[in-house]
């Protein structure tokens, strides 16, 4: 990235649960670390998310899911990104994702999963490390 380049992250909340506090905390933490965060809000479909990520040319999509819908949404987003030849956009996720599932999701292309108790610093460091 050039000197003037910024890390851009799309924060989205797919699925139907309405608890976006976590997503907002993350958005704020990323902003405070100097990143540009595109916040898209609640109830986004995988199609919306992928389209937005492409238009916004982000490095990362950050997904917050608490409802269990991730088992449908993760594979769908990966699939859509690949269809659009945008597999270079990385995905991270947070919320309620069972620990025993994590290897499975990493295998299909979810880069990292940050469950309850993760610190925002950890997430910022991860993204910074991964882009640079």
């Amino acid at each position: 990235m050039s000197k003037k380049g910024k890390i851009r992250v799309l924060i989205a909340k797919p699925g139907l649960d309405g608890h976006d506090r976590g997503a907002k905390v993350i958005a704020r933490a990323l902003r405070d670390s100097g990143m540009e965060v595109i916040y898209t809000g609640l109830r986004q479909s995988p199609e919306d998310i992928v389209e937005a990520a492409i238009q916004e040319d982000v490095h990362f999509i950050g997904l917050s899911i608490l409802s269990g819908a991730h088992s449908h949404i993760f594979p769908r987003i990966v699939e859509l990104l690949n269809e659009r030849k945008a597999g270079d956009i990385k995905i991270i996720a947070g919320g309620i994702i069972p620990n025993e599932e994590i290897p499975k999701w990493k295998k299909i292309g979810i880069e990292a999963i940050f469950g309850p108790g993760s610190s925002t610093i950890e997430i910022v460091d991860y993204i910074n490390g991964s882009v640079n």
Partner: protein
């Protein structure tokens, strides 16, 4: 993506290529210049509508609805939405998209832009970003400024039609008399028209406009309630009226003036950068210290530096 590859893709209106070019422009990468030179002749084909006004006035919601109306009338639309960069961290939360659900659902291209320290309501690269979006083949570009203060009037240098959105409850009629943002509106919108005070604000704005000298184009005032869409069709009609009033002739005169101004700006910036490299940071530092110690005054210091 390689530069040549991006150029080829741009010529086919490829969304990823446009998105990538926007990033290159924002980051002021060298290849952005190469690409812009290459595509310049294909740009300039969209009618540019600027939307400005204070934070929370409903700009994004209005942009969303306007985009949808335009789309339904057969136009192709692109959106640039600028939000402020934090002066402390350099980061930004870009939330305009949040209010642009119907545009997003309709597949309209939306790009969120951080101002990256530029004042005036836009980012320094907004003009070129509009050109980049025009590679999608859109005939309308909507540009939303950051939540603007009284002096953030740069949009008028960019838009063909400038819409200033005001809301009731922000001040008395003296505010409406002040110079600045209200003067630049080709169309004034009183949004949140269902709120108390909306009628009064409309009257005050009308008063303000009537006090000024008579202009060829008299800015209409449209009352809207963006949350339920009321007044938006009327607003769209007024935009069309303004566009027809300008015609190609007035529009081109206006654009020519801007290009002039922009050219001056670019030249002065390039000269500045060149000169600074030649002088070196050190020289400035030394001079600053001398000014602090009152060995030299700032005015003479500038003269001395320029002469060197």
């Amino acid at each position: 993506m390689k530069t040549e590859h991006i150029i080829d893709k741009l010529k086919t209106g490829d969304i990823r290529a446009v998105a990538r070019l926007l990033t290159l422009i924002e980051n002021e990468e060298e290849n952005a210049e190469t690409i812009l030179k290459e595509i310049w002749k294909f740009t300039g084909n969209s009618y540019i509508i600027g939307i400005t006004g204070p934070p929370g006035a409903g700009k994004s919601t209005i942009v969303d609805l306007l985009a949808k109306i335009a789309l339904d009338k057969g136009h192709k639309v692109g959106i640039l939405a600028v939000d402020p960069t934090s002066p402390f961290s350099g980061g930004a939360v870009l939330g305009d998209r949040l209010r642009m659900n119907s545009a997003q659902q309709s597949g309209i291209f939306i790009r969120s832009v951080a101002s990256r320290g530029h004042l005036g309501g836009l980012a320094s690269t907004t003009r070129f970003m509009i050109n980049a979006i025009e590679m999608l083949g859109n005939d309308i570009t909507l540009v939303e400024t950051v939540g603007a203060g009284q002096g953030d009037v740069e949009i008028v240098q960019v838009a063909d039609t400038t819409i200033v959105v005001e809301v009731p409850g922000l001040g008395d009629e003296v505010q409406a008399q002040k110079a600045g943002i209200l003067e630049i509106g080709d169309i004034l919108v009183v949004n949140k028209g269902d709120r108390p005070g909306a009628d009064r604000l409309t009257k005050e704005l009308r008063m303000m406009l009537s006090l000024g000298e008579k202009k060829e184009w008299e800015s209409p005032i449209v009352t809207t309630t963006a949350t339920n869409g009321s007044g938006l069709e009327i607003l769209w009609g007024k935009i069309n009226e303004h566009q027809n009033y300008l015609g190609d002739n007035k529009k081109n005169i206006m654009r020519l003036k801007r290009i002039n101004y922009e050219l001056e700006n670019q030249v002065s910036q390039k000269l500045f950068t060149k000169k600074m490299v030649q002088i070196g940071e050190n020289e400035i530092q030394i001079m600053a210290e001398r000014i602090l110690k009152r060995e030299i005054d700032p005015l003479s210091a500038v003269e001395k530096i320029i002469k060197e």
